[in-house]
C-alpha cells in the first residue's frame, strides 16, 4: 500500500489550497451570483484594476440563492437576485441601500429600468441583465402561425412542446389567457387556471428549466415556452428558431445586483457595481450572454447582429415584471404537483 506518500502529497495540496485565500490581497469581495453570468474576463479586469480579490460563488437559480442566503454561513458583499426576490428581501429588510454617489456609471441605465416596481424608490438595486419569457417556434416544422399562448397550446401540437419547469411562469401564461393581470395570483385565480393548465399539461412533452434548447435542437419538440436567453442561443445556432412574445401578454425579468445586510466590504461592493456598469464592460457581458442589456451606452457598442437577435431585443412594448407575492409560492407548487401527478 502506498498510502503514506499519497497522504503526504494530499496534505500538501490541501494546505496549498487553504493557503490561497490567506495570501490574497487584504481587500476581498464576496460575490454570490448566477453561474456563467459574470464573465471570467470581467472579474480578472476588475481584480487587476482595483487589487480587490473577487470570491465568485455561484448558484443556478434565484430560489437556490435565497435558501443559502437565509440559512446563513458566508457574509456576502454582493448578491444577484431576480427582481421579485430582491423585492422580498427589501420588504424583509435584508438589503442595504446602495450609495449611488459611489456608482456614477448608473447614469447609463435606461430610464425604463430605473425605479421599477420591485424597487420603486431606486434605493437598493442595480439592474444587471434583463430578459423575457416567450415562445420559440421551429419554423421548418410548424407552418401554422403562432402568435400567442393559445396558438401554442393547441391540440394539433400535442407532444411537440417543451416548457420551462417553473410553476409561476406557467400559471402566469394561463392568467394572461384568462385576462387576469400577471400578478393577480390568489387562491381564487389559481383555481380558475386549473382546468386550462390541466389541458395544457396533456399537450406538453417535457418540462425543462435548465436547458430547454436541448430538446428543440434535437428535434424532439418543435415549440417551446422558454426564457429569452435560451431562445437567443437557439436563434444564434439556427435562424429557423423564431421567437414570439405572446400576444396575450408577456413580462420582463430583471436580474439585479444588491448588497445584503451583513456585507463586510461596502467599498468593494460599490466599486464592483460601478465597474460592471461601464459601457465597455457591460458590452463584454452581452458578448458572452445574449440577454437584454439595460445599459443604454453599452447597447450602442453592440454589433448590428447582436441587436438584431429578436430574442435578446424583441420589438419594444410595455412589459410588466413579477412582483413578490408573499407565500403564494406554496399554492402554485401544490397546484403544479397535483396537475403533473394526475397525468
Amino acid at each position: 500500500m502506498k498510502i503514506i506518500p499519497c497522504l503526504r502529497i494530499l496534505t500538501l495540496t490541501v494546505l496549498c489550497a487553504c493557503a490561497v485565500p490567506l495570501r490574497a490581497a487584504d481587500q476581498e469581495l464576496n460575490l454570490f451570483a448566477w453561474s456563467e453570468y459574470v464573465p471570467q474576463g470581467v472579474l480578472e479586469a476588475f481584480e487587476e484594476e482595483t487589487g480587490i480579490t473577487v470570491n465568485y460563488e455561484t448558484f443556478a437559480s434565484g430560489e437556490e440563492m435565497l435558501a443559502k442566503l437565509i440559512a446563513g454561513g458566508t457574509a456576502y458583499d454582493l448578491i444577484q437576485p431576480p427582481d421579485y426576490i430582491a423585492e422580498a428581501l427589501i420588504k424583509n429588510r435584508l438589503l442595504l441601500p446602495v450609495d449611488f454617489a459611489q456608482v456614477p456609471n448608473f447614469r447609463h441605465i435606461l430610464a425604463e429600468y430605473k425605479g421599477m416596481p420591485h424597487d420603486p424608490e431606486q434605493k437598493f438595486t442595480v439592474p444587471y441583465m434583463t430578459g423575457t419569457v416567450g415562445i420559440v417556434v421551429n419554423t421548418e416544422r410548424i407552418k401554422t402561425p403562432i402568435r400567442g399562448v393559445k396558438d401554442l397550446f393547441s391540440p394539433q401540437h400535442k407532444g411537440r412542446i417543451v416548457v420551462v419547469d417553473d410553476g409561476r411562469e406557467l400559471v402566469t401564461a394561463a392568467l394572461y389567457v384568462l385576462g387576469h393581470p400577471l400578478n393577480n395570483i390568489t387562491p381564487e385565480t389559481l383555481e380558475q387556471t386549473r382546468p386550462l393548465l390541466a389541458e395544457w399539461f396533456n399537450l406538453i412533452k417535457l418540462f425543462d428549466s435548465d436547458s430547454p434548447k436541448t430538446a428543440l435542437l434535437n428535434g424532439d419538440v418543435d415549440l417551446g415556452y422558454v426564457w429569452g436567453g435560451e431562445a437567443a442561443a437557439l436563434w444564434n445556432e439556427d435562424r429557423k428558431f423564431q421567437y414570439v412574445l405572446p400576444a396575450e401578454g408577456a413580462h420582463l425579468f430583471v436580474d439585479v445586483l444588491a448588497i445584503p445586510v451583513g456585507a463586510k466590504n461596502l467599498q468593494a461592493a460599490h466599486a464592483f457595481l460601478d465597474f460592471v456598469l461601464r459601457p465597455e464592460v457591460s458590452r463584454q457581458i452581452s458578448d458572452e450572454f445574449p440577454y437584454t442589456n439595460p445599459n443604454g451606452e453599452a447597447r450602442k457598442l453592440l454589433t448590428d447582429a447582436q441587436r438584431a437577435n429578436p430574442a435578446s431585443y424583441p420589438p419594444a412594448r410595455p412589459l410588466d415584471t413579477f412582483r413578490h407575492l408573499g407565500d403564494t409560492g406554496a399554492l402554485i407548487d401544490e397546484l403544479v404537483t397535483d396537475l403533473k401527478n394526475a397525468r
Binding site: 437559480s61 430560489e63 437556490e64 435565497l66 435558501a67 437565509i70 422580498a88 428581501l89 420588504k91 424583509n92 417543451v162 419547469d165 417553473d166 410553476g167 406538453i204 412533452k205 417535457l206 418540462f207 425543462d208 436541448t214 430538446a215 434535437n218 428535434g219 424532439d220 413578490h324 408573499g326 407565500d327 409560492g329 406554496a330 402554485i332 407548487d333 401544490e334 404537483t337 397535483d338 403533473k340 401527478n341 397525468r343
Partner: protein, 292 residues
C-alpha cells in the same frame, strides 16, 4: 472449506463491549450524533413550525404540515417513487449479479482491474453523462438509427422522455452499487464449493439456488440496500431523461426548499420519509434476527 456463514455464529462470537468497546465506538457515535442526529432534530423542530413569506421558519407550533403530508396527493407520489426504486433494484440485481460473480472468479489482479472499470464511467460528470444518453435515445438518435438500420423498426420510436428512458437512466446510475457489494460476498465463496455441488449431481439452477445464493446473501442484501434506498429519493435522472412529467418524492421535497419556499413542509416530508425508512429497516432487521 469454509463454514457456512450464519448470523447465529456471528452473533455468538460477538462479545459484551465493556469500556473498551464503547470507547472504540465513540468516534462513530460522535460523528453520527453531530452530523446526522443533530440536523435531524433541527428538521424535526422545523416540521412543526410555520413560515414567513421568504420560507424562513417561524417558531409557532402547528400540525398542519403533517396533515398535508398524509394527503392522497403526496402518498401517491411516494408510492410511485418506491415503485421506480423497486423496479430499478430488481433490474440491477438481475443484470449485476452475473457480472459480480464473473469478476469474483478472476485472478486477483484482474479482479481489481475489472472492479475499477465498473466504476470509472461514473467519474465523468453526471450531467455530461446524461446528455450522452439523450444523444443515444433521442428521436434521431443512435439507438433509433441502429434499430432502423437493423430493420427492426420502420419509423423512429419514442424512447426519450418515456418511463423506459427513466428506467434506463436509473439502472445505469445504480448498477455499480449493486455489482460491488455482491462482488464483496462472491469473492469469498470458494469456487470448489460450486464444483462440489455440481459433482454431487446438482444442475446449474440447483447449484445456484442452494449454494450460490445463500453464500452471497449478505452481498445481495447490501446491494439492495445501497440501490433501493438512494433510488427512492432520486429525481435528477427522471427530470432530465423523463422530461419531469411526473413528480417524485425527491422533487417534491426539493421544491419545498427551492421553489415553494415552504421549509416546514419540506421538513415534515423529510421527517416522514426518514421515519418510514427507520420503521421498515428495524422490522426487517428483527425478522432476520428471529430467523437466525
Amino acid at each position: 472449506m469454509q463454514a457456512l456463514p450464519t448470523a447465529a455464529s456471528a452473533r455468538a462470537h460477538a462479545r459484551p463491549p465493556k469500556v473498551v468497546g464503547w470507547l472504540l465506538l465513540a468516534p462513530l457515535l460522535v460523528w453520527l450524533a453531530a452530523f446526522v442526529v443533530l440536523p435531524l432534530l433541527v428538521l424535526l423542530v422545523y416540521s412543526f413550525c410555520q413560515r414567513d413569506d421568504l420560507g424562513r421558519v417561524v417558531f409557532s407550533f402547528t400540525w398542519e404540515n403533517y396533515e398535508r403530508v398524509f394527503s392522497p396527493l403526496y402518498l401517491r407520489i411516494l408510492g410511485r417513487s418506491i415503485g421506480y426504486a423497486g423496479l430499478t433494484t430488481i433490474i440491477c440485481l438481475v443484470i449485476g449479479f452475473p457480472v459480480a460473480w464473473f469478476i469474483a472468479r478472476q485472478t486477483p489482479a484482474r479482479r481489481n482491474r475489472l472492479l475499477l472499470l465498473v466504476m470509472i464511467p461514473f467519474w465523468t460528470n453526471f450531467l455530461i453523462r446524461t446528455y450522452a444518453w439523450i444523444v443515444i435515445l433521442k428521436g434521431e438518435g443512435l439507438l433509433n438509427a441502429l434499430l432502423q438500420y437493423g430493420r427492426i423498426i420502420a419509423e423512429p420510436i419514442e424512447l426519450l422522455y418515456t418511463p423506459f428512458a427513466v428506467l434506463t437512466g436509473l439502472v445505469y446510475a445504480y448498477l455499480p452499487f449493486m455489482i460491488l457489494p455482491i462482488y464483496v460476498s462472491a469473492e469469498k465463496v470458494d469456487g470448489s464449493l460450486v464444483e462440489a455441488a455440481h459433482d454431487l449431481g446438482a444442475g446449474p439452477l440447483r447449484a445456484f439456488s442452494s449454494v450460490i445464493i445463500p453464500l452471497t446473501q449478505p452481498g445481495i442484501l447490501a446491494g439492495v440496500l445501497l440501490v433501493f434506498v438512494p433510488a427512492i429519493g432520486m429525481f435528477a435522472i427522471t427530470d432530465l431523461m423523463g422530461g419531469a412529467q411526473v413528480p417524485l418524492i425527491g422533487n417534491v421535497i426539493q421544491n419545498q426548499f427551492l421553489r415553494a419556499r415552504n421549509w416546514p413542509f419540506g421538513a415534515a416530508l423529510g421527517v416522514v420519509f426518514t421515519l418510514l425508512f427507520v420503521v421498515t429497516y428495524a422490522l426487517a432487521q428483527r425478522r432476520r434476527r428471529r430467523h437466525a
